[in-house]
Amino acid sequence: MTQDAGMIGQAGLQFFGKMCASVSHDIKNVLAVINENAGLLEDFCLMAEKGRPIDPARLKRLAGDIQEQIRRGDRIVTGMNRFAHSADAPSMDVDLSELTDLLAALALRFAAARGVQVHVKRPRGAVRITTAPFVLLNLMWLCLDEAMAFAGPERIVELAAEDSADGACLRFCRIQRLKDTPDGSLPTVLSSVLCSFLRAQVSFDPDANQMTLLLPKNGG
């Protein structure tokens, strides 16, 4: 158990670092775009000082582009903030669909690097469970990483959080190349330890191109 706790802690730190690095890269890009837009505004001002008229429509477009980048930056930082707070308490009442949205946002850059789109199918209402949200996010990430590795020609992985008889489940759908692995391939030592800690189960249905993460109502 102590060994498992150590592994969960170590893996959690690596997971947190991986996500922070990705988010910082995204923020750098937002700043870089704002920097170029502001630089272009300055260029236009310098040109105007030399007698070349400024097109107001072009200025308006530039201001709009800067505002859009600020909204993008805000979305990124808000997601990072929610991710950081997922480690606040060892067990919390959470909405699995909200965690799924957060995972999809965090995975955006990794998915793009693989040429995969992550779609989230939203349930009608909240899917509430009591769990260790940070550890669960780590397990959800391992599942998504696996799903993306086996994405087929359409390059889409769809996530759907749902209530189930004993708790909740998160379906990873449209994994077209899941058939290529006889029994699915997730159960690594880490995923097994995380599943055991959260009292979760992962099941594979290659015929339905689907992997399912089953979660108890009260786990973690």
């Binding site: 890009n29 920097n35 170029e36």
Partner: protein
């Protein structure tokens, strides 16, 4: 000086190219390695400014693809990764002599371009 900018951040590539054109540099841009290679079918460039992290084919691999067609072209890499050890290791493996960290300083970029194009 005719240059090719490749960055998957479309707005960054487009705006930076516009700012370079204002400064008299013939700057063209593409948002992926694939689009860059298409441009290279019809155009020749003195230098390419490549983003390191791009989907599918990253900047370091793109450099190798371009060099196989045009060995004389020079390269500058731009990165959002600061002084990441991974990047430095990868960059040295493909001989990336010049690189800058985002957000860019345009005067610094132009100075690097001139330096890279020195015979």
């Amino acid at each position: 000086m005719k240059i090719l900018l490749v960055d998957d951040e479309e707005e960054l590539a487009g705006t930076l190219a516009e700012r370079l054109r204002i400064r008299g540099i013939d700057a063209h841009w593409a948002i992926s390695a694939e689009k860059a290679m298409q441009l290279l079918e019809t155009e020749t460039f003195d230098l390419a400014v490549l983003d390191v992290k791009m989907p599918k084919v990253d900047g370091l691999k793109l450099k190798q693809q371009i060099q196989s067609k045009n060995p004389a072209m020079r390269f500058i890499f731009i990165t959002g990764h600061g002084s990441s050890r991974d990047f430095e290791t990868g960059a040295s493996e493909v001989g990336a002599e010049y690189y800058l960290v985002k957000p860019l300083n345009i005067d610094e970029l132009i100075a690097k371009m001139k330096e890279a194009l020195k015979p």
